[in-house]
């Protein structure tokens, strides 16, 4: 095997080296770039057809970017890396200062954090004071109220490690997914029905000399998923993680609709559809007006039932309800609306993050009102990472309601 001749010498050598370093930066930021792509980029750079900076940009873009969600990171990286290549170190220093300064008002582009991480030494990262998401008054976060407080929210961007975690979490969910039978068919060697069209076509291969039957079997598919996620004050500690999880879920799975509710209901499906996670979440936080406000589960559910249920709950949709069930509004409305939801959804899974307290008791009337209408109850005892969140949704889903009763029994003071 002859190794390809090394051609990067002289001035091109510098370019080739820079391309290599640039690729490494992108790789660190989470783009899957192999050595082959680096060689392609160097070959293209040496082909002599690139006239200006923009040509160079689109060349690298074509070689390195293979997915829509990588565009933002690539763009940021390109501008930082190639603007003043000689001053790269200074730039990195500058970025370090910027990211370390908490509460920088300057609007950062999507993927900025992941890029910054990939550009510095990992050791430096540890010195950066850990950024917590803006913690509101701790005392208030665990209480529920029905007051409408409109707040804007700016979420910390996602880190490389978190993104990897999200991928793993979703992959785990993938193994446990429920599929339902559709009325479509796919070809299947041991299927029970005859695929006439394929049989016919196959028979012609042998000149019509006898007809070998081809078979087909029903096609199974994941049902649409509707997520109703609580973002009120009492759930505020998790909203960032919930959103990252929901983003990963919408990109991985088809037919997911996401609604956020506190004191009002917001459909954020379209916003979450942005491929880049930071971009998506920035849009969501712009679209939602009632971050960390009060909770009106009943009236927001009612709004969902009236305005959206008929639109998104078709085709045997499953509902994932993420709320602590702390309702301060009228629980009569909540009961009636849960009943209505029950009738239009094929399956309701309730993810309750309140159970993180060991002493949890289903005393809140809201919890008791919701409980009879859910098919599956998923308590979350510790919710510190996406992994915990995914773990709480994993497990063989019960086909009947029988598992519900066991949950009920394990909860004191439920009835």
């Amino acid at each position: 095997m002859a190794t390809p001749p090394l051609t990067f010498t002289g001035t091109t050598g510098k370019l080739a080296e820079n391309i290599m370093h640039f690729a490494r930066v992108l790789r660190e930021a989470g783009l899957p770039i192999g050595s082959g792509a680096v060689l392609d980029a160097i070959d293209a750079a040496q082909s002599g057809v690139l006239r200006e900076r923009l040509d160079f940009y689109w060349m690298l873009n074509a070689v390195f970017v293979k997915k829509r969600e990588h565009l933002e990171i690539f763009e940021q990286a390109f501008h930082v890396f190639w603007k003043k290549p000689k001053m790269l170190e200074q730039l990195m220093q500058l970025m370090y200062v910027q990211i370390a300064r908490k509460g920088d008002d300057e609007k950062k582009g999507a993927g900025y954090r992941r890029l910054a991480e990939s550009m510095f030494d990992k050791g430096l990262q540890k010195n950066v004071p850990a950024q917590k998401m803006d913690v509101l008054e701790i005392d208030a976060t665990f209480t529920a109220s029905a007051d409408e407080v409109l707040r804007a929210k700016d979420f910390e961007q996602m880190s490389v490690a978190e993104q990897a975690q999200a991928r793993i979490a979703i992959a785990k969910l993938h193994m446990n997914r429920i599929e339902i039978k559709t009325r479509r068919f796919r070809s299947h060697a041991s299927g029970r029905m005859v695929d006439m069209r394929r049989s016919m076509r196959q028979s012609l291969h042998g000149g019509g000399d006898g007809i070998r039957l081809a078979h087909k079997a029903p096609h199974f598919r994941e049902p649409p998923l509707v997520v109703l996620c609580d973002i009120s004050g009492s759930c505020s500690n998790y909203s960032r993680m919930f959103l990252h999880f929901l983003h990963a879920l919408t990109t991985e799975r088809a037919r997911v609709s996401v609604f956020l509710f506190g004191t009002r209901l917001t459909n954020v499906t379209r916003d979450l559809n942005r491929r880049d996670v930071d971009d998506a979440i920035a849009r969501v936080s712009g679209a939602v007006k009632d971050w960390n406000g009060g909770t009106r589960i009943g009236s927001t559910l009612r709004e969902f039932n009236f305005k959206w249920a008929r639109r998104v709950l078709g085709q045997q949709a499953h509902v994932l309800l993420m709320t602590d069930g702390l309702e301060r509004d009228n629980t009569e409305v909540l009961g009636a609306e849960m009943q209505r939801l029950r009738r239009s959804a094929r399956r309701i899974v309730w993810l309750n993050p309140l159970l993180r307290f060991d002493k949890f008791e289903a005393r809140a009337t809201g919890v008791r009102v919701i409980m009879p209408f859910v098919d599956e109850f998923r308590p979350v005892h510790s919710l510190n990472s996406l992994e915990d969140l995914a773990a709480s949704l994993i497990g063989v889903p019960s086909k009947t309601k029988s598992s519900m009763s066991s949950v009920k029994m394990s909860l004191p003071n439920l009835n």
Partner: protein, 305 residues
């Protein structure tokens, strides 16, 4: 009948077959006919979406081809199907003749005479230069996979059959697609169509609709019914009654020899108007009476002025 040449002519055309269209609807229908684009109609059940296609076919003297959508609808029942039994006989015959030329055999097997035409393919056939009206009803009932089949038909009015070739329409059919919005239809499909949201009619138009469709009903009763239904739609109910329900109600009341609404009669016939138990329970008893009193007040007030 030729295509209408103005918005007013379109409204007149629809009216001649008993469809009272608002200015908005007449405009979008005129544009759809003029530009030769499919018309995508979305709206609650019972507001007259399907009726538009029927009325258009009738008033323009075109054939109506209807494709009722359902879950699992596929190419074989919507576009075309090969006649397998006949094909098999053909193969046997070829065998008996000792003919083993594969090219010729496949040519004769996948020929037009073995093709069974389903609604979408039928719609590309224009007898005597008069393209039919193609109604794709309740598209939201199918799954997303089916929408993909429609894309080619809707943008180029042609269908590609792998074994056969491309079948294109000589004259583009008039395509009406309806949806109850039980799910969102994909943007790629909507992009190819003109979109119109068919809403509930206002009181004046609803009264005109009743007078056109149920000419036997008493005038006073029609007024009361319209005012009652309009008030009901403004209220807080899960499923507001559509125009179809209003017409049904008028018929029902007429059959019961009712000339003016009274609370008892309303309660007894609520099932014609409301189809959800929650809504009926809310209306029964005092609810209906309250609306009825309010409605009668309004009508009295209007007659005075």
């Amino acid at each position: 009948m030729n295509l209408p040449t103005s918005i007013d002519a379109t409204a007149e055309l629809l009216k001649s077959t008993g469809y009272i269209a608002g200015r908005d609807l007449a405009t979008v229908i005129y544009l759809a006919l003029k530009l030769g684009r499919p018309l995508f109609l979305e709206g609650e059940a019972g507001v007259g979406k399907t009726e538009i296609a029927k009325v258009l076919a009738q008033s323009l003297g075109r054939k109506l081809i209807r494709l009722q959508c359902y879950e699992g609808l596929d190419v074989h029942s919507a576009v075309y199907e090969w006649n397998y039994a006949a094909q098999m006989i053909e193969i046997r015959l070829a065998e008996a003749e000792g003919q083993v030329d594969r090219e010729r055999l496949s040519g004769s097997i996948f020929a037009e005479k073995f093709l069974i035409r389903r609604p979408l393919l039928q719609a590309l056939d224009s007898e005597g230069g008069r393209a039919p009206v193609l109604l794709i009803d309740e598209l939201d009932r199918t799954d997303e996979a089916f929408e993909a089949y429609l894309l080619e038909v809707l943008s180029d009015y042609q269908i590609t059959i792998p074994e056969f070739g491309v079948i294109a329409a000589k004259t583009a059919p008039i395509v009406i697609i309806t949806s109850n919005r039980t799910r969102e239809v994909h943007d790629a499909l909507k992009r190819r169509c003109l979109y119109h949201w068919v809403g509930y009619p206002d009181a004046v138009r609803e009264l005109a609709i009743i007078k056109t469709r149920r000419p036997n009903a008493a005038d006073a009763l029609a007024r009361e019914v319209v005012a009652f239904v309009q008030a009901l739609r403004k209220g807080d109910i899960y499923k507001a009654p559509g125009v179809a329900e209003t017409l049904d109600w008028v018929t029902a009341l007429h059959e019961l020899d009712c000339v003016s609404l009274d609370p008892q009669m309303v309660n007894d016939t609520l099932g014609v108007l409301l189809k959800y138990q929650d809504d009926i329970a809310r209306m029964e008893g005092s609810g209906a009476k309250r609306i009825l009193d309010q409605v009668k007040d309004e009508i009295r007030h209007m007659q005075k002025t």
